[in-house]
């Protein structure tokens, strides 16, 4: 074969493969994907901007006093309405939700990871957990309404709301704790058992301390979910137009239910109160995420 024909073949081969259209299609597809991915980011930015803007309008145009807002209970008069009652309600809810869900969640996770034999029953329990995590939060409200408020005659008090939230977030605590426990290497368990420790001594002395940062992080994230939950509290029966500072055994309201009330009612001023409430709620959420992030980075060890 001569050199000429060879070169000719190469030219033919190049013209045979026309990549222009392929490249254009590639680029368009890439741009479309970037655009779609940015959609979520843009929406988040708009949401935050919307809340900040409405908060500013409330403060500047309607002269809502931030000091009053943060230090007073609710009021029927929007200019004197405060958020402190709702914040106290949320604080109590958080305390009791933490108390109920932490022990229940970590206890279940320890049983499933450290004690449970690998049987059909165990697998069913795990499948049930996934299912529980998918039950709408409003249904947990109905559960609390039927069991704690009516059957146990607790009435629509704060503790009943906390129990609803605790049952709602326990699956989250369980799954996070299970992951943290699984990350503890088996070598450590064996090392402990071989020195004559019982299963429980091993769990308490070696496994739980190593898994604790992951468990704490997961619990904080679960509480972050609980603090924004509205529907279960409404079903338990919160106070519409709350004027008092609720205690654990009082009728109650919380930050999200107060925000719902303000946002739902048609008076325009209330919309700005709702925005300020959201600003407070989101700031607290951000702080919780910050703590969770800190715990994860500072204390979590990879083996």
């Amino acid at each position: 074969m001569s050199a000429d024909t060879e070169r000719g073949n190469v030219r033919e081969w190049m013209s045979d493969v026309d990549l222009r259209w392929v490249k254009r299609k590639n680029r368009l597809f890439h741009i479309a994907l970037v655009g779609a991915s940015l959609f979520g980011v843009v929406m988040l930015a708009l949401l935050i901007a919307d809340v900040i803007l409405d908060t500013l309008i409330g403060v500047v145009v309607f002269e809502i006093d931030i000091g009053t807002f943060l230090t007073r209970a609710g009021s029927s008069d929007w200019a004197n309405a405060g958020f402190l009652g709702a914040m106290i309600g949320s604080a109590w809810l958080l305390v009791f939700t933490l108390f109920f869900s932490f022990f229940l969640g970590v206890g279940t996770a320890v049983y499933l990871e450290e004690y449970a034999p690998d049987t059909r029953t165990t697998r069913l329990i795990e499948a049930n957990l996934t299912n529980l995590a998918g039950v709408p939060s409003v249904v947990y409200g109905l559960l609390a309404l039927g069991v704690f408020v009516n059957a146990m005659r607790l009435g629509p008090i704060l503790i009943a709301g906390a129990l609803a939230l605790a049952l709602l977030v326990t699956p989250i605590v369980i799954v996070a704790s299970q992951e943290a426990l699984r990350a503890v290497p088996d070598g450590m368990r064996n090392g402990s058992l071989a020195t004559g420790a019982t299963q429980w001594q091993t769990v308490r002395g070696v496994v739980l301390p190593s898994a604790m940062p992951g468990i704490v992080t997961g619990t904080i994230l679960a509480l972050a979910r609980a603090i924004g939950e509205t529907a279960p509290l409404l079903m338990v029966g919160t106070v519409w137009g709350m004027r008092h500072y609720p205690g654990p055994f009082d009728r109650f309201g919380a930050m999200p239910t107060q925000i719902y009330e303000w946002a739902f009612l048609p008076e325009i001023e209330l919309q700005y109160l709702a925005a300020m409430g959201i600003a407070v709620l989101m700031t607290i959420l951000l702080a919780m995420y910050g703590v969770a992030f800190f715990v994860r980075n500072r204390y979590e060890r990879s083996y």
């Binding site: 034999p117 690998d118 290497p185 070598g187 450590m188 368990r189 064996n190 090392g191 402990s192 058992l193 071989a194 020195t195 004559g196 420790a197 019982t198 001594q201 002395g205 070696v206 301390p209 190593s210 060890r301």
Partner: protein, 278 residues
Amino acid sequence: MASNTTNDTESLISTEVSVDRTHDQPASPETVVEATDIDVYYGDEQALDGIDIEIPERQVTAIIGPSGCGKSTFLRCVNRMNDQIDACRVSGELDFHDKNVYDDDVDPVALRRKIGMVFQKPNPFPKSIRDNVAYGLNVQGKTEGVDERVERALRGAALWDEVGDQLDSSGLDLSGGQQQRLCIARAIAPDPEVLLMDEPTSALDPVAASKVEDLIDELVEEYTVIIVTHNMQQAARISDKTAVFLTGGELVEFDDTATIFEDPADERVEDYITGKFG
């Protein structure tokens, strides 16, 4: 791992392995652990097949054999660590001082307080050096004289000189060889009778490995040591008795180390020792 490879290669080349164990052996040492017809199954798979062996007190007994021959499985039978594996079934009799440890009335936790174990991969806890060594003492409720016991265990594990002044630093900050000696200190602190060692040097570099070997030489003054190794040189260097397991979970020959390495009765053992097989 590099060191093992080198050692294995060596053993493949040299057909003569020198035995330099010179423990003062009593005429007829008492038997501490006696296995009779031990079978182990993982699910349907048989891991050990009719093991009979008598482990003498205060000597080093080495268990050698190719990978997958069940030597670690046997070790884990002695302190019932196999209980941790759901699919594992053990039959036969394994006596610790004439008491079958698989009897219903034996508590594996109590058993493990008499029989310490050191693992292939160093597994210190994410605690201070002191708490690592004192762990077994705490667990077993031996709360008196903890500091002295910790020091004695660390000296016994030849680690005191290196870490005696930093007992509060984390056990995980030590080097691999130090970690393994820390694990040995942890195992001997509660003063068990028997020390099981599952390839304790295979994850260490040669220098660290030889330190641990020297240590085993001293430990045998006080403890009965059963060591699993796939390094034949090591077995020859440190053990009084050697058991050879071969594929299929069978104990082929068990005798004085010198006999095993110089004049084995079984042809397969000779083939394995000289590197023709395994």
